[in-house]
């Protein structure tokens, strides 16, 4: 039995006690053909009523990742709740490679979830654990277990216990309502961070997952704010003449890259968050915007139209030199690097629309990975396996997500209004 994980869960739940809800639902749009067959057997509850279907949450998480193809429940002849009850032959016959079994029981201050991950062909238990979850923390417990299973099978750290920030918008022209939300990565437990009749855009998580930087027009002009998501405390950090946009945290959380047009054309600047001192990074007569840091903090990528149309460039912070990274097509913008720094995710104008694409920085090869059009704002999961982005379904803005290899995808529509500007949090645990 491993250490309990109640501490961080409780912390999260206190921080994000919900005020206004704008939960997103999930629709799987494409499953990967390389997904590993797994069965997550409904967890037994000893006849007690449990408010969340923990096994279903785990199964949905694993399926969305594109790495797993969970077995339908009605195909399960047998429903063991612990490893010693498993008859491996039955599951082998169903071509299941891995099996998850478990039980949920009431505990003094909430629930205890026991789970085991079994390797069907090896006929052995891979991991097993007992997890404590507070009365309202069953979903968090299920996400934690999903993370453990994901890592045990794939070797990649799970990112199911992370959060997303996003902006909702309703109305048009002068009569609009905007709101900034944070929610669990699966769209549940949404909490409003800010609402305004003026535009809100470009939310960015600090590397410690505690703060959001964003652009708000609440003073009828754009300004950059930094807000503590837990306490709500916030500060205006940039309100120069012209554009104050596209904030991006450095990996150490001490600096914010941003776009300012105070001297005429939009250029990239870096602000020291503590002192508010500004350093100008680019100085061209073209548009330079949408900065993002390389994971090692040594360079910034950004969008520039210095060659005529928007393309992605990389600025080396020690040499001061910029090099162009994208050459495929005449519109490549809003780049974000994978956590290993080897892949660039961006918005590429293709023959069918504006789509999310991945460019391998080693070979320079660019591949479109989304099946939607009118895509915007790609944001990479902290483990690099998924990219969340904004797209359109009919005339509504929805969030979409696609696996980094493009094989699996899902959508997160909202019940009302447009959803846009998703930002995937760093690891929070």
């Amino acid at each position: 039995m491993k250490a309990l994980m109640t501490t961080w869960l409780s912390a999260l739940l206190i921080l994000f006690s919900s005020l206004a809800q704008a939960n997103l639902t999930i629709e799987i749009t494409r499953g990967s053909d390389r997904a590993t067959p797994i069965a997550v057997v409904p967890f037994s509850a000893d006849g007690e009523s449990v408010p969340e279907d923990v096994a279903q949450i785990i199964s949905d998480n694993l399926e969305r990742s594109g790495y797993f193809a969970p077995l339908e429940r009605n195909a399960m002849y047998d429903r063991p709740s612990s490893g010693d009850q498993v008859q491996y032959g039955q599951w082998r016959a169903l071509d299941v490679r891995y099996l998850v079994v478990g039980q949920v029981s009431r505990a003094a201050d909430g629930y205890r979830i026991r789970y085991e991950l079994m390797d069907v062909s090896g006929q052995r238990r891979m991991i097993g654990e007992s997890v404590s979850a507070g009365a309202n923390e069953l979903r968090g417990g299920a996400h934690y277990i999903s993370d453990q299973i994901f890592e045990a099978v794939t070797g990649i750290r799970g990112a199911f216990s992370t959060r997303i920030a996003y902006v909702t918008a309703q109305g048009a022209d002068q009569d609009m309502q905007f709101a900034l939300y944070v929610a669990d990565a699966d769209g549940h437990n949404s909490q409003q961070v800010l609402s305004s009749r003026e535009p809100i855009l470009s939310p960015a998580w600090s590397p410690d997952g505690r703060k959001l930087a964003y652009v708000s027009f609440e003073t009828e002009r754009p300004a950059i704010y930094v807000q503590d998501v837990g306490t709500g405390q916030r500060a205006q950090v940039a309100s120069f003449d012209g554009i104050n946009g596209a904030p991006a945290w450095s990996p150490d959380g001490r600096q914010l890259a941003m776009t300012l047009s105070k001297d005429g054309q939009p250029d990239i600047y870096v602000m020291d968050v503590g002192s508010r001192n500004l350093q100008q990074i680019t100085n061209s007569s073209s548009i330079d915007t949408e900065p993002a840091w390389a994971p090692d903090g040594r360079s910034l990528i950004f969008t520039s139209d210095r060659s005529g149309g928007p393309q992605i460039y990389r600025h080396n912070l020690s040499s001061g030199q910029s090099e162009r990274l994208t050459f495929t097509g005449n519109y490549n913008a809003r780049g974000r690097l994978s956590p290993d720094g080897e892949s660039l995710f961006l918005i590429h104008r293709s023959n069918s629309g504006f789509q999310v694409a991945r460019q391998d920085l080693g070979s320079g090869r660019l591949v479109v990975i989304s099946e939607t059009r009118w895509d915007e704002s790609p944001s990479v999961a902290p483990n690099g396996t998924m990219v969340i982005f904004a797209t359109q379904q009919g005339n509504s803005g929805v969030l979409g997500a696609v696996s980094a290899d493009g094989r699996a995808s899902y959508r997160l529509p909202s019940a009302r209004g447009d959803v846009r500007e998703p930002a995937w949090s760093p690891f929070l645990n």
């Binding site: 012209g242 554009i243 047009s261 548009i287 949408e290 139209d305 504006f354 009118w374």
Partner: protein, 179 residues
């Protein structure tokens, strides 16, 4: 940049020369699809160009004849796809605003730049600013004090019309005079 020789006054000719000069870094680029009809051929003056989509129902020429004491009624002008140049049918609108601002030195106006919704948000923020700056330069050449003019780009954040048709795009590519 293809400006036709519509200059009615020396001032306008000067404005155009300045704007043409300043635009040498390239026009606004809304992210339109390759191969879609360009607004300067397809939509152009037909739909959004008349000024009527702003809801005022007053066309540019009448706006140009208003008394100096009143804010001109046409307060939205539209742009072609991929352009930040002032379309000839809106020159009289700008001249009317310039006359009003010159005669009313205490008047202030915010030039709100907008794009259509194609392409990325922060890049469109920059494109909307280019359009509003193009209007600002025109007014300054007309003798309006820079202190009366403020530029705010909204990019694609406040669409006038929703939808992905070229009509909607044309009505979203605009600069609004907000007094």
């Amino acid at each position: 940049m293809q400006f036709k020789s519509h200059a009615r006054t020396l001032a306008i000719a000067l404005s155009l020369a300045l704007i043409a000069g300043c635009s040498s870094t390239g026009g606004s680029r809304d992210g339109s699809m390759d191969g879609t009809t360009r607004a300067d051929g397809g939509v152009g003056t037909g739909t959004a160009g008349s000024g009527q989509v702003s809801g005022t129902g007053v066309n540019g020429d009448r706006a140009g004849q208003q008394a100096d004491g009143r804010i001109p009624e046409v307060r939205t002008i539209y742009f072609d796809y991929d352009r930040d140049s002032i379309r000839s049918e809106f020159e009289s609108v700008l001249v009317a605003h310039a006359r009003y601002l010159r005669s009313n030195g205490n008047a202030r106006v915010v030039l709100q730049g907008h794009t259509d919704e194609r392409g990325t948000r922060e890049y469109n923020m920059a494109l909307g600013e280019r359009r509003a700056n193009s209007v600002k330069r025109f007014l300054e050449v007309q003798g309006v004090s820079p202190s009366q003019l403020q530029v705010v780009s909204y990019g694609e954040e406040r669409l006038a019309v929703r939808g992905n048709g070229e009509d909607a795009h044309a009505q979203n590519r605009r600069v609004v005079f907000a007094y």
